[in-house]
């Protein structure tokens, strides 16, 4: 059952520069259009190469509702395959991960290489000699690209390259990996899968919403020793930035530069992590290491589904107009075991279904979804900071930490994609 698509003019009406229509979060026809025009077109983050370190390793990931097998074949190459037998459509992988030299469908025994090629099917004489085995491999995501180990897939056969898609977001990923003395992140600390009854865009918009923390997270700010409250207060020197292409960030560097204390962004001090700090100095030199450790980790929402949230990585998976799963894993840095233990410890307090932070964010997503079905006043207002927005030295729109510069940037891109004004 597919709802009729809305025409381009409809989206120009529903998405204005400073307000958006409530039906964009609730109308199944809009969701179907988003799948076709955004999720099955643009570059979507799928998984990280560190999740399949060995030849034969595979993990089951997703692009929206599509189940994707990310595999490493026996030669070491990475593939993005659709989790559907080319025979009669059975789902092939049931386990979330494994190691194998081939994938065998449990329904009729059709067997595929981990590169997706059909290796054979039982009782071949039933097919005669003319069945073209080479054309019967598993479906694959037409384009795959990888940056700093982050693997993205695009269902569009042609379009901008991954690097063109990432644009200014690329530099933020560089800032993430340099936190490792070996310059690599490893997503090896397991995942929590948190399901919310809300539209996916509520999550995307919230990831770089600097206006909500004082309200949504006041309970943990009150009882915990969180340094986050300050970052999103009126005293903050942080910047909300629209990087273009739907990517948005909270650039916290100015805030932490002003504090000028290594690891303040992580709520700790150098003496608590001596091995990590030493490894960083050895890798980058004392001066550069200090700069990295003062500036901290990026806070960036890479459109449409990869949220690098300083110390954890979120992946947003839309399942229906009002159903979304957020997958989250603690950041782990290659060559930094003492840091990794703390990253894991801090993440398991903050995120996931029982997290001190994320349980409340998710409560808001669900209330937002229940609220927005109300027929009046129809529109959501995204005007905050319009009066003080500026273009920064790199040509990006920038606002104060609590401004809605980021939400406006996300919607500008969504509108461009739904009206198909931009290439994938």
């Amino acid at each position: 059952m597919t709802a009729p698509a809305l025409d381009r003019e409809a989206y120009r009406r529903l998405i204005e520069d400073d307000r958006v229509h409530g039906s964009l979060y609730t109308d199944p026809a809009v969701f179907d259009d988003e799948l076709t025009r955004i999720w099955y077109r643009t570059w979507v983050y799928v998984g990280h190469e560190s999740e399949i370190p060995q030849p034969g390793d595979y993990v089951v990931k997703s692009i929206g509702p599509q189940s994707i097998i990310m595999s490493r074949d026996r030669q070491g190459a990475v593939h993005l395959l659709l989790n559907r037998c080319s025979h009669r459509g059975n789902q092939i992988c049931e386990a979330a991960r494994g190691n194998t030299g081939a994938l065998r469908c449990h329904y009729h025994g059709w067997t595929f290489g981990t590169d997706g090629a059909l290796l054979g099917y039982p009782f071949r004489q039933g097919y005669g000699p003319d069945t073209p085995k080479s054309a019967l491999g598993l479906g694959r995501v037409p384009r795959m690209g990888s940056y700093q180990g982050f693997v993205f897939g695009s269902f569009a056969h042609a379009g901008p390259s991954l690097l063109e898609h990432l644009g200014a977001a690329r530099e933020a990923i560089d800032r993430l990996v340099r936190l490792s003395p070996l310059g690599r992140v490893e997503l090896t600390a397991g995942w929590l899968h948190h399901e919310v009854r809300a539209n996916w865009k509520m999550l995307v918009e919230n990831e770089t919403d600097g206006y909500h923390p004082q309200f949504v997270h006041s309970s943990i700010f009150e009882v915990g020793e969180s340094h986050v409250a300050e970052v999103y207060s009126e005293r903050s020197a942080a910047t909300a930035r629209d990087l273009g292409g739907g990517h948005t960030e909270h650039d916290l560097r100015a805030h932490f530069r002003r504090m000028d204390r290594p690891l303040a962004w992580f709520g700790t001090t150098e003496d608590r992590l001596p091995d990590y700090c030493r490894a960083m100095r050895e890798a980058y030199g004392a001066e550069k290491a200090r700069e990295i450790l003062v500036e901290g980790s990026p806070h960036i929402m890479v459109f449409p589904n990869l949220f690098i949230a300083e110390i954890q990585i979120f992946v947003i998976q839309p399942l229906a107009v009002d159903r979304t799963v957020q997958h989250v894993t603690p950041l782990q840095l290659a060559g930094a075991p003492d840091m990794n233990r703390r990253l894991l410890h801090q993440a398991s307090g903050s995120v996931g279904p029982a997290g001190f932070l994320l349980a409340d964010d998710s409560e808001m997503y669900e209330r937002n979804q229940r609220g927005v079905v109300a027929r009046e006043p129809e529109w959501l207002i995204l005007r905050r900071g319009l009066n003080r927005e500026r273009v920064d030295a790199d040509g990006h729109l920038a606002g104060a930490a609590t401004d809605e510069t980021t939400q406006r940037g996300i919607w500008r891109h969504i509108r461009a994609m739904l009206t198909e004004e931009v290439p994938a």
Binding site: G190, S219, V223, P330, A347, S348, D360, S362, R370
Partner: protein, 161 residues
Amino acid sequence: MTTTAPTISRTEVEEFLYREARLADEGRYDEWEALWTDDALYWVPSGDTVDPHKQISVIYDHRSRIALRVAQLKTGKRHAQDPRSNVAHLLSNIEVLGEDGAGTHTTATFIAIESRSRGLTTWAGRVEHTLVRRDERILMSRKVVRLVNADQPLPTLAFLI
């Protein structure tokens, strides 16, 4: 401790487990928190958790984090529990597995039905306790909640499970 504390009886185990569940269900946070020892661990593994020091858990709270969790609930601003979920825990299949230096080890199955605006959510699994006798009271030093759906997407879990 030089003198051997009397073994915890099956009746005492049952009374403790039922009481713990009731205090959690009724949101009697201080009384619930007082059931923990100083070296307590409250652990809800995820489907990926093999070693809680290497993989993330849904909850992995030592004593100080249990206190933080309760303190957050008590602020009245923990939105995911404001209003509080209505919860009914059912415990069954209680077994006393044995006793060692750490305490008396028990296992039970549970169903917890949670009601809030989202609707009814069924939580189920196995719960393991380690109980100790301190002075005249029985306390828990370890509670592990193994959800049947730990490997699946979970809704928000902000009540005390």
